[in-house]
């Protein structure tokens, strides 16, 4: 077999090998059992003490959400102002300016919501200080927020009937101290030893082989790049993200980065199974997610490996789709990354998604449209849970019982919430895209600083894909860019900012509310007539629900974008 393909397979199996025991470990952490990171507990107690947190206080789902939302509000206000005034603050060796309010609005939200959509370029628009105390800080806390939210789900189904669902701040703090920090330190060291900068010095200048003098940006990047992946954040230190040679120097760092971004979403699925003592359920969910990932991975892989038929017509041997890809990484590793970074909500890139083949572009968007095959840290499982509830409802009926999940009846109220959440994502993506398409089509020359007519590098279907991708990425809190879109202007900063914030918090509140409501209900013991949710059949049912609901809603839009391009090309 081709070495590069072997490399991809090895990467996947390494991910699995790490994720499984990590899942067990996470379950132990949240259960408060003995773990190897218990040396952190004095530190945690110190944090609780200075913050006035009573770690033994159990919260209801509403109290959880109140804590989550209020602390997030504090962070976004903080980030917004620090970004605006960054030019007046220290650690700015390159003398970069403060952000405009609209860009700051977009950026603060973008990192708060774990999206990391970047309408700026790190080298020229951020200072080392804001890279650290805004970007890196938010990358830690937003990841921990997602995990703390999914921990409520864990607690809700671990016990029979309860309103006590643990303490938000404990889940949050432990996620950082026991999961994110230790892993980030290990990873940052690996990256630093492979050539990623970890320095507070400003730009360096080198003389290339051609003899030109080039200014090379650097900074304390290794630590940030570690959490960027571990926290499924995806926002790069440098504008070119992980395609940049300092952000992702070689094949080994590439493997480390792609493994790092997938392990926690995967591990949380296993952790769910371990925590609620239904391992099989964890495995079935993992199986469905993997099947979903492969549904997008395989076409993406083959269309990238096949390359453009236009090149084939010119009789170029082995014309894979190399445009927009890094030679040191190659096509298979880039294709694998393209799909992984979109099915989970990292959104870091090691190649130019705009340059990938039409079918690949469609698969990347579908990864974000479904947004629950592994998905973002914590939130991926929460999104999956919504589809699972809908699947439980329909299949419960199909076996002749009023639907129930893990011994709790699923009734009108839960279905109402699930329906709203399932509806929200297509609404945000399609409405956003419709708005931008409307301005681009009907008001191309409106008197704005950047005219809608000048937004896009490409007309027609490809231009449409660029807009569709941007909103999909925002709503899915993915943050990757298709690029080719002039997005640092008022329209895009504000609209995607709103889409990101709605696409983050409502899909967290909804599933947590359902879990909280179900946890309160009377526990019904199983019988022979009870629908088992940890079977392959039910897994297939969930898969079908996700594909038909999440993917079909986007079919007409995809037809106008990548699918039309695909048929035009072949």
């Amino acid at each position: 077999m081709n070495t590069e393909i072997t490399g991809v397979l090895v990467t996947f199996f390494i991910t699995l090998l790490i994720a499984f025991p990590l899942g067990k470990y996470i379950a132990r952490v949240f259960r408060g059992e003995k773990t190897i990171t218990d040396f952190m507990s004095p530190f945690e107690r110190f944090i609780y003490k200075i913050c006035g947190i009573d770690p033994t206080r159990e919260m209801t789902w509403k109290q959880h959400m109140a804590a989550l939302l209020s602390i997030n509000l504090v962070w976004v206000v903080y980030a917004f102002f620090v970004l605006i005034f960054q030019d007046k603050l220290p650690l700015n060796p390159d003398g970069n300016p403060g952000m405009t309010p609209d860009l700051s609005f977009n950026t603060a939200i973008s990192f708060l919501v774990n999206c990391n959509l970047q309408h700026y370029s790190g080298e020229s628009d951020l200072t080392y200080l804001t890279q650290l105390i805004v970007v890196t800080f938010l990358q830690f806390v937003s990841a921990a927020t997602g995990v703390a939210a999914v921990a409520v789900l864990f607690r809700a189904f671990a016990e029979k009937t309860t309103t006590k669902l643990g303490n938000f701040f404990v889940f949050f703090t432990q996620t950082i101290t026991r999961i994110l920090l230790p892993l980030s330190i290990i990873m940052a060291v690996i990256l630093a030893f492979n050539g990623t900068p970890a320095s507070f010095d400003g730009k360096d200048s080198i003389v290339t082989l051609q003899g030109d003098s080039v200014q090379v940006s650097r900074g304390p990047a290794a630590g940030m790049i570690a959490i960027k992946h571990l926290g499924t954040n995806g926002g790069g230190w440098f504008g070119a993200n992980s395609a940049h040679p300092l952000e992702n120097p070689n094949y080994v760092t590439n493997m480390v980065e792609i493994v790092a971004q997938v392990i926690l979403p995967m591990a949380l699925v296993f952790a769910f199974g371990f925590f609620i003592m239904r391992r099989r359920l964890g495995y079935v969910i993992f199986g469905v997610m993997t099947l979903g990932m492969l549904t997008f991975m395989i076409p993406n892989f083959f269309s990238e490996m096949g390359g453009s038929p236009a090149l084939a017509k010119m009789h170029l041997a082995n014309a894979t789709a190399m445009e927009g890809k890094e030679v040191r990484l190659g096509v298979p590793a880039s294709a694998y990354w393209q799909v992984m970074t979109t099915v989970i909500s990292t959104g870091s890139v090691n190649s130019m998604h705009d340059s990938s083949m039409p079918m690949s572009g469609a698969m990347q968007m579908l990864g974000m449209m479904t947004n629950c095959f592994y998905g973002g840290k914590g939130v991926g499982l929460l999104n999956y849970f919504i589809f699972l509830i809908i699947a439980v409802f329909i299949s419960g009926l199909m076996v002749g019982r009023t639907p129930e999940f893990l011994g709790r009846k699923v009734e009108a109220r839960e279905i109402k919430i699930a329906a709203i959440i399932a509806l929200l994502h297509p609404f945000l993506v399609l409405a956003g895209t419709a708005l931008s398409a409307y301005f681009a089509a009907h008001h191309a020359d409106i008197n704005w600083a950047v005219k809608p007519g000048a937004w896009l590098n490409n007309p027609g279907s490809h231009g449409f894909s660029e807009m569709l991708y941007e909103y999909t990425s925002s709503s899915a809190n993915n943050g990757s860019g298709f690029e080719g879109l002039g997005d640092n202007n008022l329209f895009w900063n504000i609209t995607t900012g709103i889409v990101m914030i709605l696409g983050r918090f409502i899909p967290i509140i909804g599933p947590v509310a359902i879990a909280g409501l179900l946890a309160k209900k009377k526990y019904i013991p199983q019988s022979a007539g009870t629908l088992q949710t940890d079977t392959a059949t039910f897994g297939i049912m969930t898969y079908a629900v996700i594909m038909i609901l999440a993917a079909l809603a986007f079919f007409p839009a995809l037809t106008l974008g990548p699918i039309a391009e695909f048929f035009n090309l072949y």
């Binding site: 409802f393 329909i394 299949s395 419960g396 009926l397 199909m398 076996v399 002749g400 019982r401 009023t402 011994g407 699923v410 009734e411 009108a412 279905i415 109402k416 329906a419 709203i420 399932a422 509806l423 297509p426 609404f427 399609l430 409405a431 895209t433 419709a434 708005l435 398409a437 409307y438 681009a440 089509a441 009907h442 449409f464 009377k522 526990y523 013991p525 019988s527 022979a528 007539g529 009870t530 629908l531 088992q532 079977t535 059949t537 297939i540 049912m541 079908a544 038909i548 609901l549 079909l552 809603a553 007409p556 839009a557 037809t559 106008l560 699918i563 039309a564 048929f567 035009n568 072949y570």
Partner: protein
């Protein structure tokens, strides 16, 4: 299950006619609004009507030809009618069933009693049954039709209840006790009874039920509401999909006609289940009615599908009637014929079924009671003190009773209780039988063995319930030893022995506390609290008024095994909803492949590659899709009315099966259907 013919005949001529009429009446937007999915279709239809009129009036063809717009409008209009027809035919069938019951009670003359004083006898006047109010008293003689539901306050009568139950054997109803209730529409065959009316006119069970199937008071069940919410949200998603398609199309310079938008929308929203949803609910109650069970709400039927535990009385449900004498065992040295004769004499005054069965058994063994002269005899009735009964005749004291009672009697008189007889008694008990010891002048004479006869086929029914996940519990007054034997023999999962009404109640509460849904059947007034406590309480029609008020279903056949049927009806109801929802949504895949390429093909010809069904033209593709969408509704009406068959094969196997048939089928069928319709349309276009 009284009329299999009407059950099989789904579309009776008169019913269809009425349903057709109703289909148009139901087009009223205010009625339509109750069903959000079909309401949006109605809006779409109205839009298409406007477009059609516009294109005819102006000759403008940017929205497609007038004929094409008219065709789309007509198909959508028919879709609405089909959906209304489904609901209307279900209602009509229920109504017809209810009417046939109601007919028996309209304009029945009632002999109302007017109290005129303490001394003079009451005056009786004939009035119409509709003039009877709750609390009124009427009398019925042989040959009269009972005008109203009520309770006998005086007298006893044999009554023919075949009009309601289909059971031709007359039943006895009498004042006091658990058999005092009579139902309007039934006929008194003999004797005279005085009855107090227990319901207001129009509020009898039958009336309530009729109102339910007629839809007037039909409320959506919680599950139906949840499904409606889900379907409404699907509809909303597709509204978003269709509305946003307009600027998308503008951006890529692809004009899309209004007809195409509306067709895409109507095809994508779950019209199949949306159109059939209420029909399924009504049909579920109707099926219960056809099984001669009146349900007080649709929710009760749904709940029945979820039952975890079933409380069943042993007598009459698991065993045939009462215990029967099966064997005479004379004590050592006692002549068998003499023993049997003693048994007969001891049982002469015993009116209990057990007592009668002893005489019956004696008959078969050639001993009859005709030699006994009653004048010389003194009958000793059963008392709680002696716990035995018998006869004193010509200086012979014959007693019959439970083992310990007779043992007491015998040993008190200084006689010995023979050990062989004691052995025999043990043997009978451990076989699930009940021993009755007979003594003659305080000497043990022998033992009568009474046995429960378990109904044939009951074991299989319990097995079926077990596979459905329903636990069966036998309730009996027997001692635990006997109860255990019968429980094992009948195959029930648990039993309550020596049960008092409070025990039933306690058991139900205990099961409910652990989260289970419990059903029970009962007829007596002392069952009423337990019937009310149970999630599904089925009262027998022969039961007391209190029992009927407490339960949420009434079984007209008085058949205790009916619960099994009710569980299946409940399951069928939910399954029909689930499978048709799955089918409806799975259909979208094919419809997308028909309509989406048709939308864009003129401006992006390359999308011909997406037209995998090779439909002839964009217009024919869209028409084929909407036609398929319309005709699938009437095709599925029989399924909606009959319900999806329930097979107790375990939940996962059932899901697999239904997912394969309705999920995969739902994906494949429309591909074939749309292609066929397109081929047919080719002849006209």
């Amino acid at each position: 299950m009284s009329d299999n013919t009407s059950r099989n005949k789904l579309f009776d001529g008169a019913l269809v006619e009425e349903a057709l009429q109703q289909s148009f009446v139901k087009l009223n937007p205010r009625i339509m609004f109750r069903n959000p999915v079909m309401f949006t279709v109605e809006i779409g239809t109205a839009i298409m009507l406007a477009v059609t009129i516009y294109t005819y009036a102006t000759g403008d063809t940017t929205q497609g030809s007038a004929g094409y717009n008219l065709a789309v409008f007509l198909v959508l209009f028919i879709t609405l009618l089909f959906a209304n027809f489904a609901e209307a035919i279900a209602e009509a069938r229920g109504k017809a069933q209810a009417q046939s019951l109601r007919k028996t009670r309209e304009d029945t003359p009632a002999k109302k009693v007017f109290a005129v004083g303490e001394i003079r006898t009451d005056e009786i006047k004939v009035v119409s049954s509709s003039q009877l109010a709750k609390g009124d008293i009427f009398v019925c003689e042989a040959g009269d039709i009972i005008p109203m539901d009520g309770e006998i306050i005086e007298g006893l009568a044999t009554i023919d209840e075949s009009a309601i139950t289909g059971e031709s054997a007359p039943v006895i109803r009498e004042a006091g006790g658990d058999k005092s209730s009579v139902t309007g529409g039934t006929k008194v065959l003999s004797d005279f009874i005085k009855v107090r009316v227990t319901t207001e006119p129009g509020e009898s069970f039958l009336d309530k039920m009729i109102a339910l199937v007629e839809g007037a008071s039909r409320q959506k069940t919680p599950n139906e509401i949840a499904l409606t919410i889900l379907l409404a949200s699907f509809t909303l998603v597709f509204i978003i999909v269709c509305v946003t398609l307009k600027p998308f199309g503008d951006f890529v310079n692809t004009p899309i006609t209004i007809a195409a938008f509306v067709s895409l929308f109507v095809c994508l929203i779950p019209t199949t289940i949306g159109g059939l949803l209420s029909a399924i609910g009504i049909a579920g109650m109707d099926r219960a009615l056809r099984a001669n069970v009146i349900t007080k709400s649709g929710k009760a039927v749904e709940t029945a599908g979820d039952l975890d535990t079933l409380l069943l009385d042993k007598t009459g449900t698991i065993t045939i009637g009462n215990r029967k004498a099966t064997h005479f065992w004379p004590a050592t040295g006692v002549n068998e014929q003499a023993f049997i004769t003693s048994c007969v004499m001891a049982s002469l005054a015993d009116e209990t079924p057990e007592g009668k069965s002893i005489i019956e058994l004696a008959h078969t063994q050639g001993v009859s009671n005709r030699y006994v002269k009653k004048e010389h005899a003194r009958f000793i009735a059963f008392t709680a003190e002696t716990r035995s009964s018998g006869i004193d005749i010509d200086g012979n004291r014959i007693r019959k009773g439970a083992f310990d009672a007779i043992k007491n009697l015998v040993t008190k008189a200084g006689n010995l209780f023979p050990s062989e007889t004691e052995e025999r008694i043990k043997a009978i008990s451990s076989n699930g039988g009940t021993p009755l010891v007979v003594s003659h002048n305080e000497q043990v004479y022998g033992v009568i063995e009474l046995q429960d006869i378990i109904k044939p086929g009951i074991r299989e029914r319990f097995e079926r319930l077990r596979r459905m996940g329903v636990k069966t519990v036998m309730v009996t007054g027997d001692n635990p030893l006997t109860a255990r034997f019968i429980a094992e023999k009948a195959g029930v999962d648990d039993f309550i022995a020596e049960a008092k009404p409070e025990d039933k109640m306690r058991y139900i509460k205990q099961e409910q506390e652990s989260g289970k849904l419990v059903a029970m059947m009962g007829d007596g007034t002392n069952d009423a609290p337990a019937l009310a406590q149970a999630d599904v309480g089925v009262a027998m029609n022969s039961g007391t008024q209190a029992a009927k008020e407490a339960g949420n279903m009434v079984d007209l056949d008085n058949d205790p095994t009916k619960l099994i049927e009710i569980v299946e009806i409940g399951k069928q109801l939910l399954m029909t909803r689930g499978t048709l929802t799955t089918f409806s949504i799975a259909n979208d895949v094919a419809k997308y492949f028909a309509i989406v390429p048709a939308l864009f093909i003129t401006s992006i010809p390359a999308l011909q590659g997406l037209n995998i069904m090779h439909l002839k033209s964009p217009e024919s593709a869209i028409l084929s899709a909407v036609i398929f969408n319309a005709i699938i509704i009437p095709i599925l009406i029989p399924l909606a009315l009959k319900g999806v068959a329930y097979k107790p094969i375990g939940a996962s196997a059932l899901l697999r099966r239904n997912l394969f048939i309705y999920g995969l089928g739902g994906v494949v069928v429309p591909f074939i259907g749309i292609k066929l319709i397109d081929l047919l349309l080719a002849f006209f276009m």
